[in-house]
Symmetry: C2
Subunit: 522 residues, 2 copies
């Protein structure tokens, strides 16, 4: 993977904005949870990733058992947890005459507690695999692990005790953390139990990603990414309504643009606020659309006014990437995200996201700066014309992208959302997309979200619900407690990282069914 | 190894004694030390355990280097350390977008940082191998490891960072701990630089074992064993003079005898005072001799009077093990220690230790209880007679032990120390021992100490010094910074645990050259 890394860069820190973000830092709600069952992993080729967990006993039996070198057990917390684990351990037999050495492995999915992490050979850091090896010098001991884990299953392996003692576990618990407040979620009268379940799992996914910022995934990257923030914010307005958390995240991004004024794709919050050196064309524009959505949801005029110059600046910078024809310049680096797809060309979808953003920026300019509105409208007209002239292939009936005139699902979906064609033409385009099914497909719930939203935009609620049932419903059938970062129904082992062991199985950008169901009354 | 384990046992807790021990708990002296060099391990068949460390650069160069996945380095602190390690780590490159995963390995000897611990296949717990695997979520970070390590070398392996960043180490340090006070050690005018070095290394060994109790070894078992305590106390009287620490340890043992009144072979101090369920014939008797030595060194009448009943009780219990002939009953369990030696029969040396103890108990009884003195003198006469009648083989000119009439070094040495024969006969016995060199030899500095003391007892100072030079001097030539738990010059890979990786290389019972040199004016 070719990251775009700026070796030397200057950050234009806005301490007022950073201070404002700091003042909006939420208090985490904590709750102590306990495992429900002792389980074992069983290989099953019909199950996603080949492994399932089978209940062996209720967790109450744990206290009666003791374990020696080479023994292991798995506890199942019954649902997804994000928090801090405590184990109460005692020695059985002689006084412990050597340290206890144990390995703890945390899995959101059965495969993570079934397959040794030593088999991992993906290209992103193996340090994301949730595992700790610990020595305990003195027993009995109550250990609270200092790191936060995201998991449902926890495997405990006894690496060694001594010949004179074994160990027993009197209690295992997790103090879960989230900044989301369940009591704020509006009650719904569901028409359909599958959609009800989808809504519930979406909300749980969002809840577990809501920490002191909106994280993309509590397992990985545990980080504030703009692409995730945009969708989390939309889901949040319909559910937890933690609007100050959206505001905080917007101010965090606004606190550390680079010296050109571009907002980073993601931020590191600790030990100090630092923008990542990854800058993505689409994600920077989503700063603007996220501000737009925030204003729509809150009518917070003060924030809009304060962040407007930076929101406008993202559009200016995006326009600077247009070539003389008015088309976004393509390149081979990681300049835009769009979707996890090795072969996907990013040009046409990026062009569409520019148009999508321009439309929303114009509406903000109406409220704030009439002169910019005129300028933006002119630009919009030109960019749309250029798009139709250079990216629309009349013969194929598809938008094309890049040197090879690639036809992808992503390009068509974003062009629909950008409303480059009229409503009827969009409807034809989407139908043709499903009929011809171009080979450059979709790999993430993030991209599927945009497909469903495109279907809703053209008024095809039936097909939208069908997609929800097929895709997110598919995840549920495949065992999801929270929605996953990656899901390709045709290639369930898919991972852009080289191993599904490292995939995140509670991922912010997958939480949108609750938004789609509630916003569009599905 | 067949441990003697009492499944059900009652401890006769003496809270006054425990409270007295607690009040004598020393304050640990702390000092911050830093590594001196970056080193690499090099295989060398001529070096003990096959590995040596070669300096590559001064440690000042460390700060200029950075490390990525798969890299490693070793720092050498220049001498043995016991303490808490701190690492100051920063990221180099992009902001760290994944946790840092590192493994730290601590070695008293080069082999420990050269050979992977995964190769360890000994029978005692692998949990003693000093290694930690740590995830660091946020960088820069200053990490202080919570566990205490005993080491000279520290290896740092970078298990993973990410493709976007590497790590650098701005500082590595160790806060060493000991309760020994160097300023109390009497200055010496050495006649001989080899003995001077031996004295210095002995003192360093003792110092590193002096924590809030006299530990046997700061790497392993980090525990208060009576056999070690006895020798540490002797070395301590000549050097640090932390006599209250000896007193504390005596009161700890006295605080938790079993319901028969037997003192355990070793104690666990944390989380609460618990005697190990290992009871050893020789070690229980050493409670009495250690009290004797303590009184000799301190004239502390109050302690002597308080602990006398328990000291006397150890002798009573030992006498109960005599058979109708007056010989200590042998058994195949781990009932006496004597030395680490698979084939060594423990009967005759145990008989000798009983006699050795009886002689000293009689001297204490003279001070405290005339009636017991008479009784003990009677017993001594009988036991000595029985020994000569049943264990002395006139034809062989050796003491024999067990059913097979085993002739061992240990039996002869302890019989000399027990003064069963007269001075001249002892001299002949020792000479014959060296000449005939029975195959059941010695494996530990603990046993060699008794050989040297036996030589000094018979007045053969020349041979005693020769043994010091050969044995402890041999360790120095083989690279000892502190004296080792195990050393067999004829089998340098020797370990009673199945692997020299787990041997302790700073061990209390090896610290006695300073006692022998200073006490006997060598």
């Amino acid at each position: 993977m070719n990251f775009q890394v700026a070796a030397e860069r200057k950050i234009d820190r806005n301490e007022d904005f950073i201070q404002k973000a700091e003042s909006l830092k939420p208090t985490l709600k904590k709750q102590v949870t306990k495992p429900i069952n002792l389980v074992k992993t069983v290989e099953d080729p019909d199950i996603i990733h080949g492994w399932k967990c089978i209940v062996t006993e209720a967790v109450e039996k744990l206290v009666e058992k003791d374990y020696g070198k080479g023994d292991s057990f798995i506890v199942d917390f019954g649902q997804h947890q994000v928090g801090y684990v405590t184990l109460k351990i005692r020695a059985v037999g002689s006084p412990p005459d050597a340290p206890l050495h144990i390995r703890l492995t945390f899995g959101e999915m059965p495969v993570e507690v079934a397959v040794p992490f030593s088999t991992y050979n993906g290209w992103i850091s193996s340090s994301w695999l949730q595992e700790e090896t610990i020595h305990v010098d003195v027993l009995p001991e109550t250990i609270t692990l200092p790191r936060r884990y995201s998991f449902r299953y926890m495997k405990v392996e006894i690496l060694d005790t001594s010949q004179k003692y074994r160990v027993a576990f009197d209690e295992i618990s997790c103090e879960t953390v989230t900044s989301a407040d369940n009591t704020h979620v509006p009650k719904m009268n569901y028409q359909d139990s599958e959609l009800e379940q989808m809504d519930r799992i979406s909300i749980k996914t969002l809840e577990d990603c809501m920490q002191d910022v909106f994280e993309d995934g509590p397992k990985r990257d545990r980080r504030l990414w703009l692409g995730d923030l945009r969708l989390q914010a939309l889901a949040n307005y319909e559910t937890f309504q933690s609007n100050d958390l959206v505001k905080r995240c917007l101010y965090l991004f606004a606190g550390v643009p680079n010296e050109q004024g571009q907002v980073s794709a993601n931020l590191f919050i600790a030990p100090t606020l630092v923008p990542d050196d990854t800058y993505l064309y689409d994600y920077s524009l989503f700063f603007t659309t996220t501000l737009y959505d925030y204003y729509e949801a809150t009518n917070d005029q003060e924030t809009l006014e304060e962040l407007w110059p930076l929101a406008y600046r993202q559009v200016e910078l995006a326009l600077e990437r247009l070539d003389e024809r008015g088309i976004v310049t393509d390149s081979s680096t990681w300049w835009a995200f769009i979707d996890w797809h090795e072969e996907l060309n990013k040009q046409a979808p990026s062009q569409a996201i520019l148009i999508y953003t321009l439309r929303r920026t114009i509406r903000l300019a109406e409220l704030l700066d009439e002169s910019k509105k005129t300028y933006l409208e002119l630009k919009l007209t030109k960019v749309v014309e250029a798009t139709l002239q250079h990216l629309w292939d009349e013969q194929k009936g598809f938008f094309v992208s890049g040197d090879t005139n690639q036809v992808s699902w992503a390009s068509q979906i974003w062009m629909v959302l950008a409303e480059v064609l009229d409503q009827e033409e969009n409807r034809i385009l989407i139908n043709q997309l499903f009929e011809q099914n171009p080979s450059i497909g979709m790999n993430t719930p993030y991209m599927y979200h945009h497909l469903v939203e495109a279907l809703l935009l053209i008024g095809d609620q039936k097909k939208a619900v069908e997609m929800l049932r097929t895709y997110w419903g598919g995840m549920i059938k495949d065992g999801a407690d929270t929605f996953w970062e990656l899901y390709n129904p045709n290639d369930k082992a898919y991972s852009p990282y080289g191993s599904h062991l490292i995939n995140s199985y509670c991922h912010a950008w997958s939480c949108t069914p609750t938004y789609l169901i509630r916003r569009y009354g599905l």
